[in-house]
Amino acid sequence: MGHTWSKAAVATATVVAGSLLAGCGGGGPGSGGGKISDDGVTLGVLTDLSGVYAELAGEDAVTAVEMAVADFEKKHGDDAVTDDIDVISADHQNKPDVANTQARNMYEREKADAVFDVPTSSAALAVGNVAEQSKKLYFNIGAATTELTGESCNPYTYAWAYDTYMLANGTGTEVTKQGGESWYLIYPDYAFGQDMEKEFSSAIEEAGGEVVGKDPTPFPNDNFSTFLLKASAKKPAPAVLGTLQAGGDLVNVVKQYQQFKLKEKGIQLAIGLMFDTDIKAIGQDKLAGTMFTSAWFWNVDEESRAWAERFRKESGTWPTFDHAANYSAATHYLEAVQRAGTDDPEEVNKELEGMEFDDFFARNAEVRAADHRVVHDAYLARVKDPADSETEGDFTEKVETIPADEAFGPPSPDCSMS
């Protein structure tokens, strides 16, 4: 080690030591006070900004929440409970450990009053835990697991958009009744997929069908050939291949389903969860006629279209139901803060619990006090034939409305709020 090297070494060491000493503020325990804590309301959007769910949620979910804030400010003007509303965002990479750290960061360091979205059920469960510990609100939009309103429910977590029960009850029941009686299920091996598999199995059996095989797959995953070949080699061949993957994984499954020509072998495809962005990625013509269950889609009626047009101006794409639900939840949260006159979570809870409402996203909706699930009408939908599409991005048509009290299951006995 020469003399010049030593000098470089000292310089580097100094820089490293300096970065250690330079604190980033926020020392000691935080302090609250006043009606609006920290002189403002901060909404954190914790979502997937880079992975398989970045299309269906991602950056556009942040846009949706920003729209909600802008609309709230416009509506209330000078009467608003605070004139300082911020939106922050972070990437949780669909990993529960990252979500745990980021959520804590948002609540404690960035003083977020509520966190929104969090696709990926395992990550959402982690955020639910942090919300309970930090005693701050969490509005789950992107995650489907029923555990959030079951065993892991808590007074600070709301589930706004959809759940696995809703998906299974719609698609599983309907496809079985139409004659798809033997099912082969493949599901991603984490909270969402495990939960989907349970809900689908029970919905299928209740409708008189049978699950003849099931395989957990890694998450996220590129290559599903092993599972598809296994399903098609099964004797007798199952009538339906139920794919319970979502987002980028779903796109891969469907593409490989077509490559291996399972349809030609008489194995029909049923999809557990599908967003407009997935239809776009797979190709509308390839999916035409496929039935699925959706919490909402932008072309469902006039009111939804009007909002979707506005969203499209902001973001450049048509919204998925995740985006719409983010807007809806952020709006109702801000309104609740406005009515309560404070952002204290306990007071906001009093405003939200039991609230009945109707907006462009949620029809005949109620925020159930027992488990903090928002129940609302859901839709059994079908992918349109490209010839029937009115505009670009018009992929979906409604088959029937599933009324709110049938779309979601009753409050889980495993949930205790106290």
Binding site: A8, A17, P96
Partner: protein, 351 residues
């Protein structure tokens, strides 16, 4: 850290020793006032982990590439004890550390039969086995979802604030650091150092080389487990990340950055890496690996002694001649240039 300062300055005037002791105390006690408390607590945990790792790498000359196995085993065990038994967190963490040590014994017995890169590969293989067990045994560990909702219990103290938790965890970390220091400076530690420097001679003198290696391996695993348990309680969460090989890699980076064989340098290395990662991720930069990786390469190329090693080396030169105090040193590796070369050599070859 404090003890280290005392040790390092053994030959200096008493007033300076006490002054540095006080400075070290202030630094450790003041950390959560300067930094975001959960990050400060992370620094404690990773610091202890890196010191435990240096006990093995710097003092026994064994490069384990599977230390995540012990950190992670303890994280899960601590979580399970805390969730199902509802005991105060120090007991749960102790349980986790014991579990890590129990896992380390068979791994150590098999791994010490090899050295160099083969030792690293065997430990990596075992760590990957633990990873797959944790992944597959979903009923117990939560698999991909992780083990969620680990409570922080301590009678008479509300630990929900991370600021309070830092001070509750601090005594355990200091105890772990003291144990590492004691091991290095015990007759046992001197034998371990002798085995590192010349195993054949140590064997000729009648020491059971493998047994010493297994004991120091297990001790390192126990201290790693202590750190891993505290980390799991800090986050209320144990995930597959804890047993993944990147965690093993991270502790190697920390130790090399701080200075191999300096024991306390690892604390600085851990603090630098944790602080850097936190700074990068809060400023929206997700590819943290690129930065820590580049830093690692720089350290290996430019100052292999690491932060602590380089600073003390330069201080000695300025203080009048290299190796001036190496005779009375308890920390020979740093000051003796020849000994300093040894772990560097293995590093360049092995990973």
């Amino acid at each position: 850290m404090i003890l280290a300062l005392l040790d390092r300055l053994g030959a200096r005037p008493a007033w300076l020793r006490w002054g540095l002791l006080a400075a070290g105390l202030v630094a450790v006690l003041g950390l959560p006032w300067v930094l975001y408390p959960p990050v400060a607590a992370d620094i404690l945990c990773w610091g202890l982990f890196a010191v435990a790792f240096d006990l093995l790498l710097g003092h026994a000359g064994l490069l384990s590439f599977g230390h995540a196995a012990f950190w992670g085993t303890s994280a899960y065990a601590t979580g399970l004890v805390a969730i199902h038994a509802g005991v105060p967190f120090p007991l749960a963490v102790a349980g986790g550390a014991v579990a890590a040590a129990v896992v380390a014994v068979p791994i150590g017995l098999l791994a010490v039969r090899r050295s160099g890169i083969y030792f690293a590969m065997v430990t990596l293989a075992f760590a990957q086995m633990i990873y797959f067990i944790a992944n597959q045994w979903g009923d117990l560990t939560g698999g991909e979802n992780g083990l969620q909702g680990i409570p922080r219990e301590l009678p008479g103290l509300d630990l929900s604030d991370s600021f309070v938790y830092y001070y509750a965890a601090l005594p355990l970390v200091l105890a772990g650091l003291a144990a590492a220091w004691r091991i290095v400076h015990s007759p046992f530690g001197r034998v371990v150092a002798a085995i590192r420097d010349n195993p054949a001679r140590a064997r000729a003198l009648g020491y059971s080389v493998d047994r010493y290696k297994v004991v120091v391996f297990t001790a390192s695993a126990f201290l790693s487990g202590l750190a891993g348990g505290l980390y799991a309680v800090n986050h209320g969460f144990a995930s597959l990340q804890e047993v993944y090989w990147t965690t093993s890699g991270k502790v190697v980076v920390m130790t090399v950055l701080g200075g191999i064989g300096t024991l306390w340098g690892s604390l600085l290395g851990a603090a630098a890496v944790v602080r850097l990662e936190d700074w990068l991720s809060t400023s929206g930069f997700d590819e943290v690996g690129i930065v820590t990786g580049s830093l690692f390469i720089l350290v290996v190329l430019l100052f292999r002694r690491g932060i602590w090693g380089t600073v003390s080396y330069l201080l000695q030169r300025r203080g009048g001649g290299a190796g001036m105090r190496s005779a009375e040193s308890g920390n020979g590796t740093v000051r003796d240039p020849a000994a300093g070369d040894r772990p560097e050599r293995s590093l360049v070859k092995e990973p």
